[in-house]
């Protein structure tokens, strides 16, 4: 894992000191709320429905055990004993007090963490593949490049006041576990025939009010030049992105208005000026960072076989465990979608327990996924049973990864000021309808994603079934969308028909699933595949006819 050097720590310490002073001045009424609000937002502090909400950055979703324990400590000491893992691989706390905020920031900085650039019109937390460094299909670990982007984008003076927020994701596999085509910039690390590393660069993807699948702006940029190329993209966006209309300000709108060819031409022209200036990191810096992401010392004698005689353990392994590139090891996903639970929520005791299990069984490393789950990426197969028992003891052994109850849901109107409707109760009600695990496994992979407003933090546009909460004269209503995917087969979900109330949307989802089970070509055809094969009409009939 990457460890801060003196520059990283100095930057964080200085920024923390600056914000602590700003908080103190606000508490003394020396600055107004209008003056303070943009400052607190740039430090990840929102005022939500019930209290202040703090969003803590987890770069590329990777944490050490020590950092994870600090997150538990924050939940216990400054919040109400829980945190909420988000679709940007971050964590949010919902009950923060401004008057305690300085102490909280001090605690976070002790473990190389902070909250800046988790809000505001800047480059946000860089996201990545939760299986990075462990996936058998990756060409290299993508996180050193995500780390370089983190360093480059941290307090970047030119890009701290962009037209709108800016999100970057980095992967290194053909399998996309980070939804890169739905980011402002999506980077896929690849290896060419000569064995060299380079990136395919997508630009202009995004969800929210105007969902767009990103376009390839460059099929190959050598890995040593991707920072200056990214700078060129940001420069074109910063120069021409609209600032007159918040709803037209994302880069996707600029790319759409210019067309990808013209946008690409402008980026290339900008890059031709930038590239010779020496903005890219020297090889020694690449080497320094790559060395910090060196894989742990895997035990070459680790046995590859697994005792699956405990049927509950066997189910968990078949659902939540993925192959690892090292023989004798596996990748374990910890579902944060237990029965009747809140998607992404974890108590301080659970966070501590995961940290301890990671220290004991997974080389002290935890990942957060954009699906609001956690991952232990390097687990000896021989330790999986003990790990599963440890997870089960704290209610974290739910074997439902990618099944109908593994639902993404934003905080919605239970917490969020922007929301038009609640998301969490919808997720809970749908999950409760399919509580039986055998039924869930029979349905197979089905990604349901629920957002409480058009901003789409619940990724409803990328849901096989997407649900969008809307306001209908002060009451909650829900639109139903079908056919989205955030994976390598990226597609945008489309609205199926008229919306529903809280109970109606749950019944509609039941009807969709019942129709799918009768219409699929076989047990291996996913819901999404059946939808793509048949089109929306029969699904619409199933929901609305009669």
């Amino acid at each position: 894992m990457y460890r801060y050097d003196q520059y990283d720590q100095a930057i964080v310490d200085a920024r923390v000191a600056e914000f602590k002073d700003q908080v103190a001045r606000r508490l003394r009424n020396e600055i107004t709320e209008d003056q303070f609000k943009p400052l607190r937002l740039m430090n990840g502090l929102y005022l939500q429905l019930h209290a202040y909400m703090l969003r803590v950055a987890i770069p590329y979703g990777t944490l050490s055990g020590t950092q994870m324990r600090m997150l538990a400590h924050i939940a216990r000491k400054y919040d109400r004993d829980y945190g909420h893992f988000t679709t940007r691989q971050n964590i949010q706390y919902n009950w923060i007090k401004l008057e305690q905020f300085a102490d909280l920031l001090d605690d976070l900085s002790k473990v190389e963490m902070h909250a800046f650039q988790t809000s505001g019109n800047c480059i946000r937390n860089i996201s990545s593949d939760q299986f990075a460094g462990a996936a058998a299909d990756e060409v290299a670990d993508p996180r050193p490049y995500a780390e370089l982007l983190r360093q480059w984008s941290t307090l970047h003076p030119e890009f701290s006041f962009l037209p709108r927020k800016f999100k970057i994701a980095v992967i290194a596999s053909d399998t996309d576990r980070a939804a890169i085509q739905l980011h402002d910039i999506g980077l896929q690390l690849r290896r060419n025939d000569a064995g060299e590393l380079g990136f395919r660069v997508y630009v202009g993807g995004g969800m929210g009010r105007t969902p767009v699948i990103g376009s390839v702006v460059r099929d190959w940029i050598p890995v040593g030049q991707f920072l200056s190329y990214s700078e060129a993209i940001l420069r074109v966006y910063n120069r021409y992105g609209r600032r007159d209309n918040i709803y037209k300000a994302r880069i996707k709108i600029l790319v759409n208005e210019l067309g990808i060819e013209e946008f690409s031409r402008q980026v290339e022209a900008e890059w031709a000026e930038l590239a010779p200036l020496g903005l890219d990191a020297p090889q020694a810096e690449y080497d320094r960072i790559i060395a910090q992401f060196a894989p742990p010392a895997f035990d070459p004698a680790a046995p590859d076989d697994l005792d699956l005689s405990d049927p509950d353990f066997a189910v968990w392994v078949s659902q939540n465990v993925h192959p690892h590139k090292a023989p004798g090891y596996a990748i374990a996903t910890i579902s944060l979608k237990p029965k009747r639970g809140i998607p992404g929520d974890a108590s301080s005791a659970q966070i501590d327990a995961v940290a301890d299990l990671a220290t004991r069984y997974a080389h002290d490393e935890i990942r957060v996924t954009h699906s609001q789950n956690l991952v232990l990426a390097h687990v000896k197969k021989a330790d999986l049973y003990a790990l599963w028992q440890g997870l089960d003891a704290v209610g974290l052994a739910t074997p439902n990864l990618d099944l109908v109850s593994d639902i993404i849901a934003c905080p919605g109107m239970d917490y969020c000021t922007l929301a038009n409707a609640r998301s969490i109760p919808i997720a809970q009600k749908i999950a409760a309808k399919f509580e039986d695990l055998e039924t869930q496994r029979d349905i197979g992979e089905l990604k349901i994603k629920v957002s409480g407003c058009i901003n789409g933090c619940g990724h409803h546009h990328a849901g096989h079934i997407g649900i969008l909460g809307v306001d209908k004269k002060g009451e909650e209503a829900y639109q139903l969308l079908l056919g989205g995917s955030g994976a390598e087969d990226t597609s945008l979900a489309k609205i199926l028909g008229p919306g529903f109330d809280e109970n109606g949307i749950v019944v509609a989802v039941e009807k969709l699933i019942a129709f799918y089970r009768g219409a699929r070509s076989g047990p291996d055809e996913r819901f999404l595949d059946t939808y793509r094969r048949l089109g929306p009409a029969p699904f619409k009939d199933a929901v609305y006819a009669g």
């Binding site: 606000r26 107004t32 009950w95 923060i96 109107m413």
Partner: protein
């Protein structure tokens, strides 16, 4: 329709209601606000100690107010999915 005054305490972010003389964390303590409401909001904005002061529509009567929008009912009662964190004077079941 009656209106009551709400906002969030600067220091803590806590949801509060105006009782006529002070602020309370319980909506049952709120008093109906008449035509003086807008002036009161302007005063609060200027004082800078209560964030996002707002007049909201409610039904019911003193001691038993119910906001008309789901959003304000959630603010008054607490998250509907965490009954253990409910504010006490209004059940999350009303949401």
């Amino acid at each position: 329709m009656p209106r009551i005054l709400t906002g969030n305490r600067l220091e803590t972010g806590d949801v509060l209601w105006w009782t006529g003389t002070d602020w309370s964390p319980l909506i049952r303590d709120a008093v109906a606000i008449g035509d003086e409401g807008e002036a009161l909001v302007a005063q609060l904005v200027a004082a800078e100690r209560i964030n996002d002061p707002a007049l909201i529509d409610v039904t019911g009567e003193p001691g038993h107010w119910l906001p008309t929008t789901t959003r304000e009912r959630v603010r008054a009662s607490g998250p509907s999915v965490r009954a253990d964190l409910a504010r006490g004077s209004l059940s999350t079941e009303v949401i």
